[in-house]
Structure formats: C-alpha cells, structure tokens
Symmetry: C2
Subunit: 433 residues, 2 copies
C-alpha cells in the first residue's frame, strides 16, 4: 500500500522571453513550471506541474506548499477510493477557498498536485495515463468527478451513459490511433513576434512536413493581422485549416469588427476573441462569426477558462464551437473529466490547449482518452502542437507528419529530467545565475 | 512631488476560527490581511490591504512582492496623471497576467497595492476617500476606469454622463448623510456556527439597537435554515428586512428548491445562491425567486465576483437585483469605479460586502461616494456591518442606530494600528507564537 511521504516543489523557468517564441497580443514570458514531485515509501515518484509564464512562478510554488498538507502522508489507495473527497480537501479547504474559489493561483497549484497523484496512480498501474483512464470502470471515472455546481448541465447518470457508450468500438479506435496517430495542428508558424519572412518560411516548412492545420496569432494592428493571414493562407492553400488566436485582446464589438475583415481568409476558428471570463461576450461573437462565414467559422476558448463552471456556461450559452481544455489551469484530471463529459453531452469537440512547458506531454493523454471513451468521433478533434522544450521531459511527445504517436511509458509524461530541473531552477540554477 | 520609495507587506492574522465568528456554509477561517505600506520620501504613508481567510495569506503576500516593482519608485503625481496606465502595469503585466487573468490571488494583491496608492493620494489631498472621489472632476474619474472588456456595457461617455448628473443635488445628499448617517445592516446575528438561543438573543439585541435589516447564513440542512429564519423573522417583525446568504453552497436547482421553502419568511434577497462564477445560474435563480415571491425577493452577489467582466455579465443577464461590491477582491478603487458606474447604468443598487478585517472601513467610503455622485438614490442601498476587529484600525468605522457616520480623517481608513500589526503578525507575532 503505497503512501506519499513527501511533496517537493521546484521553481523551474526557461528563458524564452528573449527569442519572441510564445509572444502574442497579451503574453510574453519565460515559460515556466511549478513542478511537483511526490515521493513515496517505495515504488515510483509522482510528477505533476502547472505552467506559468515566468514572473510569479514563486507564487504558485507557495500555493503548492500551502496545499501540500492535504497530500502528504496520504495512501494512494485511500485517495483512489474517495477521489472527490480528496479533490475537495484541496478545492474546498475552508480557509484557502477564499483565494479562488477554484481559479487562478490556488487552482493552478491544485492542478499540479492533483495531476502528480494521477501520474503516480498510472505509474503504479503500469499504464500510460490515456490507457489508465480509457480502461477504467465507468463507476470509477464517474466517482472521480465533482458534480458540485454542474448538475444543471451534467448529472452522474449522464456521465455514466456517455462512458458506457464509449466502450462501443473502442478497440477499433485504438487500433486506428496506434496505426495513424492523433491529429494535431501547429502554432509555431505565426507568433506575433515573428517578421513576415519568418512566418512565410515557417508555414512553407510546416506544410512540407505534413501539417494541414496551422494557427496564427492576431490582435495586433488589423492591417498586420490581415497581411500575415494572407501569407499563411497563400502557403497552405484553400483546403488546409487556418485558425486564429487573439489571446483576449479585443472588446466584444472590436472582435466582431476585426473578424468582419479577417473572415476573408476563411478562418476555421477564432480563439479567445475577448476576456476569458466573458461567457456572454463569447456567445455574441460566436453568433456574429457564424453569420459572417455562413457557419464556417466558430469560437474556440478554454486555455484560460478558470474551472468547470465557466466551461459549463460556455456550453449552455452556445458560446463555443470548440472546447480547448488545459491540463493544469483547472484542478487536474478530475476536473478535466468533468469538462470532457460536458463537451460530449453538448456535442462540442475538444481540441486541447498545448505549448508552453510540457502541455503537449500532458494533453495528448487527455485527447486520446477523450477519443477512445468519451467524445469518440475524430471529426474536428486535434491537439495543439508547439515544438518547444520537449527535450526536458523523460517521456517527450513524439509526432509523425502532424500527428501525435501514442505514448507508451507508464504515467502522465509529466516527469522532467533531473538535469533540466537543476539547470533551470530559479533563481539558483546555472541558467539564471 | 511625493515619491513612493518602498513597499512593505505584512502577513497579519487574527485567530477568529476558534470562536465560530464568520462561519458559513463554505468558509471558516482566521480573518487575515495582506497589509501593504507605501513609504514615501516625505509626508504620509499609504496603507492598503486585501482580506483573506487565514491559511494562504502568505500567498497573497508573495503576490504583492511580485507586483511591487510596478509601484516602488513611482511619483504619486505620475500615477495620478495616467491612472489606467498604472493600473494596467499591474493587471496586464505580460508574465504575471497568466496567473489570473484579473482574478484570485494575483488580483487581490493588485487590489491591496492599488488601494494603498489611493489612500496615499487622499491623504496627500487631506480628504477622506469618499470626499476625494466625490469632489473629483468627472474627467479624472473617467480617466481612472479601465474600460477594456466592458465597452459593450459602459462607454467613457456613459460614465461621464452619470458622473456629471451626479453633481445635481450632491450638497443636499451630503447634508442628509452628515445628519443621519448611511444605512447599514448587520450580519452578526446569524452565523451558522451559532446555536438557536444565541441567534434569538443577538437578533433581539440588534433590533433593540435600531437595526431594521439583518442577514442570516443559510445552506446548512434546510430544516435548520428554516427554523433559524423563523426565529429571526419572529424577532424582527414583518416590516424589517431579512436577508439570506448561502455562500455558494447550492447547485442551481438546489438553490431554487431551497428558496421555494425559505420564501415563507419573506426574504429580501438571497445572496450567493450558487458558484460565484455562474452568471447563467444566478440568472435562472433570479427568475425563479422573483416568481416565487411575486417580485419581492432578488438575488445578490459580488463579494467573490472576480472582476468587472463578471459584474458586467451579472448585469447584462439580469442575474442580480443587488450588486455587492468588495473593496479588495477586485483591483482596487479603479475597478470599483467601473462596477459602480455599470450598476448605475443598469439601475441596480449597490450594497457593498463588508465584515472580515477592515472591509467595513473600506466600503463605507465607496458607498457614500456612490450615493453622492453615482447611484445617487438611497432606495435599497445599505452597507453590511459586522462588529469584528475594528479596534485594530487607526480610524475605525463609527455607527449610530444601524447607520454609518461619515468618516472625517484623510485617507481610506485602511491604516492598521502598529501594535496590532506587531501582535498579530504571522507566524512570529505574540498572538501566534
């Protein structure tokens, strides 16, 4: 009976701000991780993290330390037997809840800890996370979801029905994934920090490598956005998908105005057109872009959606045509399960957010599980791919011609290489001294 | 030309958890403050804080330290000349924004710092905050609001029109306030931790003291809630106002079921009936309680509303009949201005959240300013009052027969007594050793 004996947290930061990688309308940072290790009284170490943008990573580290007493000393089997009770010990702590609730720093820290526990559970089971979840009994998965505040959109019975139905054809879907990999798209061609020539060259190279879906950043001067969009559309031709991401920079009416011009290049989605909390605003924009494009363009969001209650409303208000879950902004696997199940119930495909540090490593498991057992269809499903910082992980993502290959190592692919932690630890690692 | 030379932050905690004061359906804590002092190169010290519930106060302190470089070294006159640029230096920091955006720990820390700057500005002007704001030129107040992401509900022109109109009758309203004080209500009678006899005795005493509006906590077993509600209604008679506060414990349909029973005692509002982020849920509950009560009962919320974008939607969706602003969960005075102006535009009265540590001290200024210059009418306006921890402030609130008396000292009444800081500093103060 494995017990978690200690919780260690490392402030790991990669100096990416200087290169312009990852720059968009609102963020420019040093991709960082609040990295958690759960040491046990024997057997594997659980690894989890939340992603941050550099400054302030010490704040999420402090939040992990404030929550760690809910994890330290716990037997893994006890947690697995009462997963929602464990989850609520973190999210409904009578003193810490005030700092959220269920949002921002305290919730991101919860995500790091909860994911580390899931990584440990999958490692103990000897399975990659996607398989650990896909092969779990329906009742275990349902028992892992906190339905508090979402029963008006998803009940335990709804969830069980979706997961039971998800067993149909699972073996066939798995065989196809094993052969073909999981579809993805690339965001590496169109960061705002890149000049036109670099955008053109990167797009051409990505197309040659097999990518048929690419995403660009928008939200700068509209003329610039449109010029870069035309370059990309010209390179990828009329059939490949071009997505746009405004990173929340617009007001609601500004978003509609901008999309009235950008619709010319046939965008597949507009991501984060306005403030992440603005459910009603996203709904208005969704109606407008659908009308502008005769239904071809939709709104996508989620990387900054604080929790399952925001996702619930985005679905209820028909504000999104694509749900972009994040693996570690919300409270880890338990809350992601709720989000995947709600998306399935509302018939909205899930295209997880990735990039940053280790987000591709995390979300590949979630997307594969979603396809195998929850959302099932592949139509419109793809995982973001950014070719940054994978070398720091023990079990990095592997792609082939724009598709993710199935991870095979036990766990959640979240384990960072010890030498990377040592080198990039802030502020005392050699990279920062 | 006064310059801010340093930012000091103190982790101050009062051991209130043991007594049951402040206990509700979801929170039970040691009322605490992340207390900020801005020392200057001459003249007064600026004081501000954000309220927390005990554990985790060190996290908001860490967040203040992460933001402090945006404040340290700044001339007060420079900040006053470009207030939104200053505010955005905190809320739109390209690395720290990821930790919110504009919510939770990082936004609460922003509130503490921003309020400390406003306290300093009012002290330099020699005016209590309410007067500093009420006498400000319209253009200065409009220039203090960040309209980003709210222009679909409130434009700068809307704001200017409201503030100009607010000059009409201001002198008469001020004379009446000076004579009568500002209406308030008490939450001290009905905490969940209190037994029936204590609730009865406290309600009787409050009524005798002149209170004609009292609030009780609900969200425990429905039978208990109803029994306590009947006790309170019997004590205050049919004409006084009885408010209820569920502190987010219910799901949407549970809230409607519970209110179907509790409507018997003629509640004036139901506060936080469900998750603070659930705009659509609040709207459904608002429609239901209005129908159950033939329009007598409404939904109130706001103490945990993360920012102006959430408040905007609560108003757009007609989800609230009372807006409860908090002085320091959002980004300080600048963002509260946006909220007061939106409430005025949508015709919803503002009844600020108070209690905790120093919240009464803060919000009295905001409510008075709102009445004098923004919302103007007194109909339905009152400030929460809780008789806790005022003794730790240099300029504590003063009440008379259930009404707040006008503060007279310069500043925002946020300055804590040095001996209180020393005694309750965590973890090294004598109260915690």
């Amino acid at each position: 009976m494995t017990r978690i004996v200690d919780v260690e947290v490392h402030d790991v930061r990669f100096p990416t701000a200087a290169t312009g990688d990852g720059s968009d309308a609102i963020n420019r940072g040093d991709y960082s991780a609040t990295y958690v290790e759960l040491t046990t009284d024997g057997g594997p170490t659980g690894a989890g993290f939340t992603f941050t943008n550099g400054r302030g990573n010490e704040i999420t580290c402090a939040a992990v330390r404030a929550l760690a007493h809910h994890v330290r000393g716990r037997a893994v089997a006890e947690i697995a037997a009462e997963p929602v009770a464990f989850w609520r010990s973190l999210t409904a702590d009578v003193q810490l809840r005030w700092l959220g609730p269920e949002k921002g720093v305290i919730h991101m820290a919860t995500g790091a800890l909860v994911n580390a526990v899931w990584d440990l559970r999958a490692k103990l089971a000897g399975k990659p996370m996607w398989r650990f979840l896909a092969e779990a009994p329906t009742e275990d998965l349902v028992a892992s979801v906190d339905f508090h505040h979402i029963t008006d959109a998803l009940t335990p019975d709804d969830a069980a029905a979706i997961l039971d139905k998800g067993r149909d054809g699972l073996a066939e879907r798995l065989a196809a994934l094993d052969r073909d990999g999981f579809p993805s798209y690339t965001t590496s061609v169109g960061w705002l920090g890149y000049p036109d020539d670099k955008v053109r060259a990167l797009t051409r190279a990505a197309y040659a490598e097999g990518w048929r879906a690419v995403k660009m950043k928008v939200g700068g001067p509209l003329d610039d956005d449109l010029r870069r969009a035309r370059i990309i559309r010209a390179e990828i031709g009329p059939d490949a998908l071009l997505m746009m991401d405004a990173n929340q920079v617009w007001d609601v009416d500004e978003a509609i105005t901008a999309m009235s011009a950008l619709i010319e290049v046939d965008p597949y989605w507009i991501e984060e057109p306005t403030h992440a909390d603005d459910v009603l605003g996203h709904a208005r924009i969704a109606r407008a872009v659908a009308e502008l494009s005769e239904g071809r363009c939709r709104v996508a969001t989620g990387e900054v959606a604080a929790n399952r209650v925001i996702f619930k409303q985005l679905l209820q208000a028909e504000a999104i045509g694509v749900m972009q879950i994040d693996a570690c902004r919300v409270g880890g696997v338990n809350e992601v399960l709720a989000e995947l199940l709600m998306a399935a119930k509302f018939g909205v495909p899930v295209c997880p957010h990735a990039g940053g540090v280790g987000l591709c490593e995390y979300v590949q498991h979630l997307a594969i599980f979603d396809h195998l057992r929850v959302g099932t269809g592949l139509d419109g499903r793809m995982v973001e791919y950014v070719d940054h910082l994978h070398e720091h992980f023990v079990d990095p993502v592997r792609t082939r011609q724009g598709r993710y290959l199935l991870p095979t190592a036990p766990g959640y692919s979240a384990t960072m290489r010890p030498e990377s932690i040592a080198h990039f630890r802030f502020p005392d690692g050699p990279a920062w001294r």
